[in-house]
């Protein structure tokens, strides 16, 4: 019996995984890009390009499994990147700058959580508001322009060829992998992880069973915010400036990655591995399309189709199971 449900879990991940294989297979069979697409250097660059969305998706997976949504993610990333640049530019040690950036993200997330639980408004509204607030703050602090910061080791975090070459991948990619594993473990093997699933599946039940739902939700949004903060730091590392207008609309990419990976917008379902596969499907698509020299709008159409297709496949599978 146990085997059967494990098989079920495997099948759940199979669809996005096959999607990823399919995307890779299609581009590696295109004569124009064949030779370049599967090169190590290209794979490295796809991995590096994925870091920012992936970190955001780690937090978003938690939020979505818990039955919520975080529309402020991208603004939060921009704000955190600005704060990091501002701090380093002001002469603070880079490590402190990073810390401030991450904590800014965490603070925004924490406020999301507190407002959602205390005002009892739906997450969509609160985070929609916070999306504007964080973006505005970022522009204000940066005085509506980019903040140049002196180059430091922070900018190596997202370097395509890492400085100690034995690292093989950019430090940011390693961070992404470490945090992905940590979050997967958190969701699967900890009490808190079970509580998140329970709240997303039926909040009233969770409360009845003694889960401190308010506290759990604040933690969920704060964690999501911390990941946005880290993602903001990576954005700064990549751009070498703090740009308050960066990552506009990126929250939708992040949400799309989670949904392609099997996350349910009504809560109670989703997985880190699935979300990461979702991130890579989109990253490979972008990369492949660019190599083919296809215009941006083609990429947008393809990704739109994939989102709808992925979720409909998921629905069909659910109906079968019921």
């Amino acid at each position: 019996m146990k085997r059967k449900t494990k098989l079920q879990a495997f099948i759940n991940l199979l669809a996005p995984f096959l999607g990823l294989i399919l995307v890779i297979a299609i581009f590696s069979s295109m004569p124009d890009v064949q030779s370049r697409f599967l090169r190590i250097a290209n794979l490295k660059s796809v991995a590096t390009q994925s870091v920012i969305v992936a970190l955001g998706a780690l937090g978003m997976t938690l939020v979505i499994i818990g039955g919520g949504i975080d529309l402020s993610a991208a603004s939060n990333i921009a704000l955190s990147s600005v704060i990091t640049a501002y701090a380093i530019n002001a002469g603070l040690p880079p490590l402190l700058g990073i810390l401030l950036g991450v904590l800014t993200g965490g603070l925004i997330g924490f406020m999301n959580g507190v407002l959602i639980t205390e005002l009892r408004l739906v997450p969509f509204i609160i985070t929609l508001g916070m999306m504007g607030i964080a973006r505005g703050l970022a522009k204000w602090i940066a005085n509506n322009q980019k903040i140049d910061a002196p180059l430091s080791w922070v900018n190596d975090l997202m370097a395509k060829s890492p400085r100690p070459s034995w690292l093989l991948l950019a430090p940011g990619v390693w961070l992404m992998i470490v945090f992905a594993v940590a979050m997967a473990v958190l969701l699967r093997y900890t009490v808190f992880g079970r509580h998140v699933f329970a709240i997303g599946s039926n909040e009233a039940t969770a409360r009845l069973c003694g889960v401190r739902t308010k506290r759990a939700k604040v933690i969920i949004y704060a964690l999501s915010g911390l990941f946005c903060g880290l993602s903001g730091v990576m954005e700064f590392s990549r751009l070498t400036v703090g740009d308050p207008t960066v990552a506009v609309g990126l929250e939708l990419d992040i949400i799309a990655a989670v949904v392609i990976g099997g996350g349910s917008l009504i809560g109670g379902e989703g997985s880190i591995l699935g979300s990461m596969i979702g991130v890579f499907i989109m990253a490979f698509l972008r990369n492949g399309c660019t190599m083919m020299g296809w215009p941006n709008y083609i990429q947008e159409i393809i990704i739109g189709v994939i989102i709808v297709a992925a979720v409909s496949l998921d629905q069909i599978r659910h109906r079968r199971a019921a």
């Binding site: 019996m1 146990k2 059967k4 449900t5 494990k6 699967r188 093997y189 900890t190 009490v191 808190f192 992880g193 079970r194 699933f197 329970a198 599946s201 039926n202 009233a204 039940t205 969770a206 409360r207 009845l208 069973c209 003694g210 889960v211 401190r212 109670g268 379902e269 199971a321 019921a322």
Partner: protein
């Protein structure tokens, strides 16, 4: 009453068989229904009642067998085809759009219009006539359905079926959420429909009610028709015996238990949903029943004790710990547990597994530095699945795919796993079969013998009388009388619940 064989056949099914994968849900079932007959369809959970009526309504197709409606072959492709042929189903969970009005709900999907514009006047007259015919003229056409009581909503559903010119009406547990009065009014409606030649298939677990309203019965067991006959010529015991396949010696198995010291004292507690403050004591080794009508304050009191509703005043004393402002997590720490009356809305996380649901209120045994031992947790869940005889593939199965009775057992399993000293049970046996009920009664008695205290809210007097040590009656938010169970009778409970005086 007409004799058993008289009357024209409205529906006939011969040798109908239905498989789901390897399980045989219906095995060569014959079933017939005459014009204007009220026939009860009885059986345990999982006996095949739902499958049978779904085939009749068109929601499912049989693998084999024939079906005729008024003598003509009848093979509906879907529920809409069934409805158009005159077969309507009133579901257990009502199918109404809460924000729409009575009129909009009744006409939904069959709006009368001219060029896209609604022709409301004729329609409204018809609806009013129908509601009048059903003795419910007080239901207004423009009232949003969410403002109606459950009983009134049922009438709206029935009106919809009548406006469809239904000749066969299938009712699945129509009274499980109704008050006694609403039930009585529903029965009047059913009898009225009979006089109009409408045939009714009536599914219910309340056998006394069935005996009251139905003329004939068919009992299914393990997908087979094990008996059909006239209600008047059969006793309840015989029917129960048919349903479970053996003689049930004792519906209320009792394990001896003795009343100890007080474990829960409620003092002038008033929750935000309660109209009056309430005080009472519950002792170790005691099952205290809370009787009364729906809305009389029983559920509200339980919720206030458990901290699900905020308290405005008073306190709860659990084994010496005084709690002023309860919260569910705090009450669980103080060894209280609650079984919600709303199984699907509040009681269970339907999309999660049995293991998740059973262990959700107590993870501590499987926790080390915040990490869970998945294996230990699964094993523990498997033990409770066995102990309560929950029919499931295993601890990983999602609760949504279980039958109602097994879902209820899963909710109870969680409470047992939590190992609370005080159990607050709100309608723990609603909508489940006799065997499962009897098992739950036995568990309650065993828990009392183990020194636990149990508050038992029920709208079904026989089970209160059969299980409880003491029974308190709520009337308009207050406890009007508390007596030993032996000092109550069905009639006195009814009188106290409806008038406040025994």
């Amino acid at each position: 009453m007409t004799s058993f064989n008289a009357g024209r056949l409205a529906l006939e099914m011969r040798r109908v068989t239905k498989h789901f994968g390897a399980t045989c849900a219906l095995d060569d079932v014959d079933f017939s229904l005459r014009k204007g007959e009220i026939q009860a369809l009885l059986g345990e959970n999982g006996a095949g009642k739902s499958t049978l009526v779904k085939i009749i309504s068109g929601a499912l197709k049989s693998d084999r067998g024939e079906m005729t409606l008024d003598g003509r072959p009848y093979h509906p492709s879907d529920p809409l085809a069934g409805r158009q042929s005159g077969v309507s189903m009133i579901y257990q969970e009502l199918n109404l759009a809460p924000h729409l009005t009575v009129e909009e709900n009744i006409m939904l999907g069959r709006e009368v219009h001219a060029g896209g514009f609604l022709k409301r006047r004729e329609v409204r007259k018809k609806i009013r006539d129908t509601l009048e015919f059903l003795h419910h003229p007080e239901i207004g056409c423009d009232v949003p359905v969410r403002q109606l009581s459950l009983g009134a909503r049922q009438i709206v559903e029935i009106s919809r079926a009548i406006m469809d010119k239904a000749r066969i009406l299938v009712m699945d547990e129509p009274t499980s959420s109704l008050t006694k009065e609403d039930t009585e009014r529903l029965f009047q409606v059913i009898r009225k429909l009979k006089t109009e030649g409408v045939s009714i298939i009536y599914i219910s677990h309340f056998l006394e009610e069935v005996q009251d309203v139905a003329e004939t019965y068919t009992v299914l067991r393990d997908g087979r028709n094990v008996g059909t006959g006239s209600m008047a010529e059969t006793t309840l015991e015989e029917i129960i015996q048919l349903m479970i396949g053996k003689k049930i010696t004792d519906l209320f198995p009792r394990v001896d238990h003795e009343r100890g010291e007080a474990i829960l004292s409620v003092k002038d507690l008033k929750g935000v949903q309660m109209s009056e403050p309430v005080s009472f004591d519950l002792h170790r080794g005691e099952i205290l029943g809370l009787a009364g009508l729906i809305g009389s304050g029983r559920t509200e009191t339980l919720r206030a004790i458990f901290g699900l509703d905020a308290a405005e005043g008073g306190l709860v004393d659990v084994g010496g710990v005084k709690v002023l402002k309860g919260r569910p997590w705090l009450m669980i720490e103080n060894s209280l547990g609650l079984l919600s009356e709303d199984r699907q809305g509040e009681g269970l996380a339907l999309s999660r597994s049995l293991a998740d649901n059973i262990t959700l209120s107590r993870f501590s045994p499987y926790k080390k530095f915040g990490f869970l031992s998945v294996k230990k947790r699964t094993q523990a869940a498997a033990q409770w699945i066995n102990a309560l005889k929950i029919k499931a593939q295993g601890p990983y199965q999602t609760v949504a795919s279980l039958s109602g009775g097994n879902q209820q057992k899963a909710a109870l399993a969680r409470l047992l796993h939590q190992d609370a000293d005080v159990l607050l049970l709100d309608e723990p046996t609603r909508g489940i079969d006799v065997m499962s009920k009897s098992q739950i009664y036995e568990w309650m008695s065993r828990l009392a013998a183990a020194g636990k205290g149990i508050l038992f809210v029920s709208s079904y007097f026989p089970e209160l009388l059969g299980v409880c040590d003491r029974i308190a009656v709520f009337f308009r938010g207050q406890i009007v009388d508390v007596r030993a169970a032996g000092d109550w009778r069905d009639e006195s409970l009814m009188a106290a619940s409806t008038t406040g005086k025994a």
